[in-house]
Amino acid sequence: MTGATSVAIGVADPAPLLATGGALDGARTAVRVLVEGLGKAAVYFTIAVGLTLVFGLMGVLNFAHGAVTMVGAYLGGLVLVLVVGSGTGTLATIGLFFVAMAIVFAVATAAGSAIELKLIRPIYDRTPTYQILLTFGVSLIIEEVVRIVLTLRGIQPDPQWQAPMGTIPDVLLGRTDLFGIAVRRLYLFEVLIGGIVLVAVWLFLTRTLYGLYIRAGSEDTEMVQALGIDVRRAFTVVFGVGTGLAAVGGVLLMWDPIWGPSVLLSIDVLLYAFVVVIIGGLGSFRGTVVAAGIVGIADSVTTWLFTTGIVTFSGLSEVTIFLLLVGMLVVRPQGLYGVEEVGGH
């Protein structure tokens, strides 16, 4: 999403494009755009789900979320660059990708829990402005520390660190034939990872005691306390898990040529994560899933419109996504599945 091209506005004549394919080609294109949209939706879901969990229970808008994703992208990339060599096989590389994901999740979860305990907990009794300023400050510190480390190591902080791209196994490069439709393999991989994260979070929310506390606490934190549950401990766990998920999103983006590890990834991710959670409803897991799907498909369709030349406005995708956000804020400010007031402590 970084390094946007110059913007030109115009609509080309769509007739020749539509006439060349016929109905079958049209259906194939629609399916391909849909699959690519699901790939993008998986990315949007993965970068937003941690943010919505944290806000849902704690009422904390974590402005450091994007910075954690950025660090996750660099850490995941570092693990793979260090351990994947020219002789590493495809399966081993994919296995190492999951190992990197687990390591990054564990490190980020521990760091997130520590941040909640030491920095955020002391200011729960203050207005949300303090939490926003604090997490925004943490975000700036993380970005500058990463920039310093990258500069010292001679790695380019912007636009992207390319080395992790070199670890992508061949099997994920290019397109594959799916029922006669050529689909980018990386999108299929992103759908797979997004699906794994979705199922894991869903199982956490519906099959564990802490998941039950989170769902109950998202509705009424005080009532949860009155039932004898130490909500502050649940806050620490959830902020840790939310931070871990943000970092896992970074590992997923590490191989994505559109996003890739860069310091600017921090603000890009934060922006799109906010769009998804606001459209879905702040604090709603189901809303995040649906909103990620909507934004992903919208992104895919508008990208197709631009790349085929039907529309020659290069910023179409971004404009459409942010128009969705503005439309939602006007029509239904609480989002698709949000409640009018959520979170709190």
Partner: protein
């Protein structure tokens, strides 16, 4: 030793001085009603006891222990349950999940849920239904069952009849009577007759202090000492 004691309690919301030196005590096994007009501090008394709105001055003792300023979850875990005004069930959780949150500390949560279903058989039929889809009366039953599930020695019940049809109110009264066999109860209730019918003793609260107290037997809202505090 009383089960619950509030001694010269002063509680504020911001700068609003709500409880202005309130004293009360609740003995093991009894039902105590808090009555009075709207806004005199009855709900605040319950919130103060549970630590949700801690007092700035005065002492709260539960089972002989000073719990003033203690975190609400610690007080709740030590055996104090709460059935709040407006019920506050978790609308997007199922009935069973609502109960499971309350049974979190139980060694065998399923057995505790079965006990709740024995007491309120209607809840078992709706176990997998979202609590937000239940009627007001069913939600009140769920709130009472949830309040009792923590193996509580004391149940604080706030306005259980509020917003319910008369027939449903009588069901709720029966549920509270059944619950009182297992637990001591403090009941905040606008319906004076209902409160006197259920409770053994009462405290009449006005402007954040107790102005009358005694046994409920034979007490009616026509008594001059009661009437002047209940009419606006």
């Amino acid at each position: 030793m009383s089960l619950l004691e509030l001694d010269d309690v002063h509680t504020y919301y911001g700068e609003s001085h709500i409880l202005q030196g309130l004293d009360l005590s609740v003995e093991d096994g009894e039902i105590v009603a808090l009555v009075g007009r709207n806004g005199v501090g009855k709900t605040t008394t319950l919130r103060t006891a549970l630590g949700l709105t801690p007092p700035r001055r005065g002492t709260v003792r539960f089972k002989g222990e000073d719990v003033t300023g203690t975190e609400p979850h610690t007080i709740a875990d030590s055996g104090m349950g709460w059935v709040p005004e407006d019920r506050r069930v978790f609308a997007h959780l199922t009935v069973a999940e609502n109960l499971r949150v309350a049974a979190h500390a139980a060694v065998d949560p399923d057995a505790r849920l079965d006990e709740a279903y024995d007491l309120f058989p209607a809840l078992e039929r709706f176990a997998d239904k979202e609590a937000g889809d239940l009627s007001g009366g069913q939600q009140q039953m769920l709130a009472i069952a949830r309040g009792m599930l923590g193996d509580n020695d004391l149940l604080l019940v706030d306005e259980p009849s509020e917003g319910l049809a008369p027939q449903i109110v009588s069901d709720v009264v029966e549920a509270l009577r059944a619950a009182s066999a297992d637990t001591t109860m403090v009941l905040v209730e606008q319906n004076f007759r209902l409160a006197m019918d259920l409770a053994d003793r009462f405290y009449l609260v006005d402007h954040g202090v107790v102005v009358e107290e005694g046994d409920t037997a034979g007490v009616t809202s026509d008594d001059e000492r009661i009437r002047r505090y209940l009419t606006a």
